[in-house]
């Protein structure tokens, strides 16, 4: 046997750069958030005031809830474009049920409607087998249309004597935070545990990572998807209640387009749109980041005309970094 080449053994990996890249991919977005917080703290006197921070978290609540719902859907491999339409329809029905009965019953009704609409969306997507992007886009038009039908295009208000109670989510609560913020934190904490610690969470990741492998492991893929849509629906309804409570009313054009902001927040946080990966905390980091930019513009007195441009660039940057780091580490 002729041997042309000497035997060489592989040296143990010299991959510090790659390991750094790996960490960057996991926690880079947290670093970005911290940097913006520090920058704003240093450049303004107003950022680190209790008032501003309370306000900031209150503003994050709506998009944060939607982003948490979007994240659960994205992890399982579907998109929910009905989020803002579900938000409007459930808030409107919540107000109207509240008029007929009681504010609290109305709020409960809104949540139930959110879950039901999620169930319908999920069933439509699962049964029709249509791509969720297209399926939920169509369904969202139906919901938005129903919102117009139910309100006859008008703004709906709670009964005058209940108006104050209806505004309860804007009231200060624990630690001076608004009730909306407390609700947001509690709901998100519950969802984070559900996703990370339950068998449902495990199945959610498996379905999003490889639906066929999940099916052949005995997982009911369809019911996992329907459940994901229902959770998203409840998140939308809660976000709707916050907005309605703040405005003292609900209307069919509420929160139009925020489903995309929610998906953007999820993605900025580092949840992969390919499914099977991601986390609830990422949705919150993403939502905080997008809200901080708006807050920063206000505090620094910058022209808010450019706010969207910056948010768009940030999303592009986050996604590009994620892709780049992924390529390096695989």
């Amino acid at each position: 046997m002729s041997v042309d080449t000497l035997v060489k053994t592989a040296a143990p990996g010299s991959g510090n750069m790659s390991r750094l890249a790996f960490r960057m991919r996991d926690y880079g977005i947290v670093a970005a958030l911290v940097i913006i917080v520090i920058a704003l703290s240093l450049s303004t006197d107003t950022f680190l005031t209790t008032g501003n921070l309370v306000n900031l978290l209150d503003q994050t609540a709506v998009i944060g809830l939607l982003a948490a719902g979007a994240t659960i859907c994205i992890i399982s491999g579907v998109f929910d474009l009905t989020a803002s339409a579900t938000l409007a329809l459930s808030a409107i029905i919540g107000v109207q049920v509240g008029r007929a009965t009681d504010v609290y019953v109305g709020m409960l009704a809104a949540v139930v409607v959110g879950a039901l609409l999620g169930f319908v969306t999920g069933t439509v997507v699962v049964r029709s087998g249509v791509n969720s992007f297209v399926g939920t886009l169509a369904t969202s038009m139906v919901y938005r249309g129903l919102a117009v039908v139910v309100t006859a295009g008008a703004i709906v208000y709670p009964m005058t004597d209940a108006a104050e109670t209806f505004g309860m989510l804007t009231w200060p609560s624990l630690f001076g935070l608004t009730s909306a913020t407390i609700m947001f934190v509690v709901v998100v904490a519950i969802l984070a545990v559900v996703v990370a610690r339950t068998t449902f969470g495990r199945r959610l990741y498996a379905v999003g990572g490889n639906a066929e492998a999940a099916r052949l492991s005995g997982i009911r893929v369809g019911s996992i998807h329907v459940t994901a849509f229902m959770i998203s629906g409840v998140c939308s309804a809660l976000a709707g209640l916050i907005l309605a409570s703040r405005a003292g009313s609900a209307q069919s054009s509420m929160a139009t387009g925020t489903e995309l902001t929610a998906i953007a927040a999820a993605v900025v946080g580092g949840t992969s749109i390919l499914g099977g990966e991601g986390a609830i905390w990422r949705a919150i980091v993403g939502a905080l980041l997008l809200t901080l930019i708006g807050n920063g513009f206000n505090l620094l007195g910058w022209d808010t005309i450019y706010q969207q441009v910056l948010q768009g660039l940030l999303i592009l940057f986050a996604v590009t970094m994620d892709r780049w780091l992924r390529k390096r580490t695989r």
């Binding site: 035997v7 060489k8 592989a10 449902f200 052949l216």
Partner: protein, 504 residues
């Protein structure tokens, strides 16, 4: 096939690292013009990585490439093509919805004033078909072609691009026996015409029969390059695993007399499968042989409920499955290791531990919550017993070698303690050492009393492991053969010449 001569290729000090893991280290390799150069090694040895570096699909972290003594940068497949190198990867790179003609000349269509001139492409394709001896309809969409023909289309494309070096990654893995022979003949023909061929393959006999020289890689390092004519398969295996080993199949244990029938199926029909009956007793391994398209995989899927049979009954312990779904089959004690790890078996982005735990989640929960300590110990124990070598069970399973992934797939099902194990291609894309482990695992499970049904394209493996082999042809059983039957007899039956076999 081009008027230009193939360049000599010099690889010097090439290395590649992924997330801290060195997959290729300081490779020096010379490839002479017009040779067939075999590249062998276990899974994870770095063969595909080296090939992809040559083909411009990935960049090396270290080292240089020279063509005809001139140092070049191959940063993209486009660069590689410009240098006359064409890579035919395992996954294939055809555009499914385009015709053969369009795929062959993809992005290199002849054109006049911006309009594609199909006529001159047709003429060029006809010439290429004559040279290669392929027969394929230029207007057929490639996704309608069998996989073997799709591969021919890729080869045609390489030639159409004037490739003087063609690098092929596991080209025969997806081919039926006679297609393999055709491909190997073509490789020899191309080499005789002056084209350099670099061939990665798991099938050592095949590499030995076609290659001029063979390079062995192990753990990302080049172990040796030597002449094929002076090398034996056993030597190669020895270099691949670091020691000379015999690829010995374990014998399946005797089926105890009077062992009960665990799995029985009657009159299964759907698509390719046209009336399959079978019975498997506790402790018995039934092999199913047949050509690609004979319905063997489809039969397994019907048994597991992955597809719903149009007709037929599946019984476990004499009780018919209530529903033909994976859930119902699993509840009755059936498990299936599917044909494709990546597509059907594993959730590649999730961790080893999560994958192993996936099919038995309900067994370890407290209310809605996963009992994590119980899960950790269960996964740890089963991983140890099937010998999954993972540095970190929390790492994504895609970072493991094929052999360890396959063992994880077995572990996932063994956690459920099934009565019936259906295995489709137990050792596809698995390295030699892991292969032997999996064989022992299967015979060990039979010894524990499982009823096993195994499908494999590797006829020697199937015959060695099974107590009986059922041969399917066009979705129908054409014969059943006892242990000790020669591969020739089984292959003849699979091809439809069952004069030598007894009808079942």
């Amino acid at each position: 096939m081009s008027s230009q001569k193939a360049p000599s290729i010099a690889v010097r000090g090439v290395g590649k690292t992924y997330s801290g893991v060195t997959v290729l280290h300081d490779i020096d390799l010379d490839i002479t013009p017009g040779e067939v150069h075999g590249l062998v090694g276990e899974n994870g040895a770095g063969k595909s990585t080296l090939l992809k570096i040559l083909g411009g699909a990935i960049r090396a972290d270290a080292g240089t490439l020279s063509f005809d003594g001139e140092q070049v940068t191959v940063g993209s497949p486009r660069d590689a093509i410009a240098h006359g190198i064409s890579l035919i990867s395992q996954e294939g790179a055809l555009v499914p919805a385009l015709s053969v003609l369009d795929n062959v000349f993809l992005a290199r269509w002849s054109h006049r004033g911006g309009l594609v001139s199909a006529r001159s492409d047709r003429k060029r394709l006809a010439e290429l078909l004559e040279v290669t001896g392929f027969t394929v309809d230029p207007d057929e969409r490639v996704d309608r072609l069998p996989i073997g023909v799709q591969q021919q289309v890729e080869i045609l494309r390489s030639l159409a691009r004037g490739a003087r070096v063609i690098a092929m990654d596991e080209p025969t893995a997806v081919l039926a026996e006679h297609e393999k022979d055709n491909l190997l003949a073509l490789i020899r023909k191309l080499a005789a015409g002056g084209t350099t061929i670099i061939l990665v393959s798991h099938f050592l006999e095949e590499v030995l029969s076609v290659a001029d020289r063979i390079t062995v890689l192990r753990d990302g390092a080049l172990i040796r390059t030597g002449k094929a004519s002076e090398t034996s398969p056993r030597e190669l295996v020895g270099h691949m695993v670091g020691r000379e080993i015999d690829v010995l199949y374990p014998d399946p244990p005797e089926v105890p007399a009077g062992a009960p029938v665990i799995l029985s199926a009657r009159g299964l029909k759907r698509g390719l499968v046209n009336g399959v009956d079978l019975e498997v007793r506790a402790g018995e391994i039934l092999g199913i042989a047949g050509l690609v398209g004979s319905g063997r995989t489809e039969t397994l899927r019907l048994l597991f409920g992955a597809d719903r049979p149009v007709e037929g009954v599946v019984e476990i312990d004499g009780v018919a499955l209530a529903q033909h779904t994976p859930r119902a089959a699993m509840a009755a004690g059936v498990a299936m290791v599917p044909e494709s790890r990546k597509e059907q078996g594993l959730v590649m982005v999730r961790s080893v531990a999560e994958n192993v735990a996936l099919s038995s989640l309900s067994g370890r929960r407290a209310g809605p919550f996963v009992k994590r300590p119980a899960e950790k110990s269960a996964v740890g124990d089963i991983s140890k017993s099937v010998d999954i070598r993972a540095a970190n069970p929390e790492a994504p399973i895609e970072t493991l070698s094929g052999g360890n992934q396959q063992k994880a797939l077995f572990a996932k099902w063994l956690l459920r303690k099934p009565k019936v194990l259906l295995i489709d291609e137990p050792t596809r894309g698995v390295d030699v050492a892991a292969k032997t482990q999996i064989h022992h695992l299967i015979t060990g499970l039979a010894a524990d009393g499982l009823a096993v049904v195994c499908v494999s394209s590797e006829i020697e493996e199937l015959l060695a492991l099974s107590h009986r082999v059922l041969v399917l042809r066009h979705g129908e059983p054409v014969g059943e053969y006892p242990r000790g039957t020669t591969p020739e007899v089984v292959i003849a039956a699979a091809f439809g010449d069952h004069s030598e076999g007894e009808e079942s």
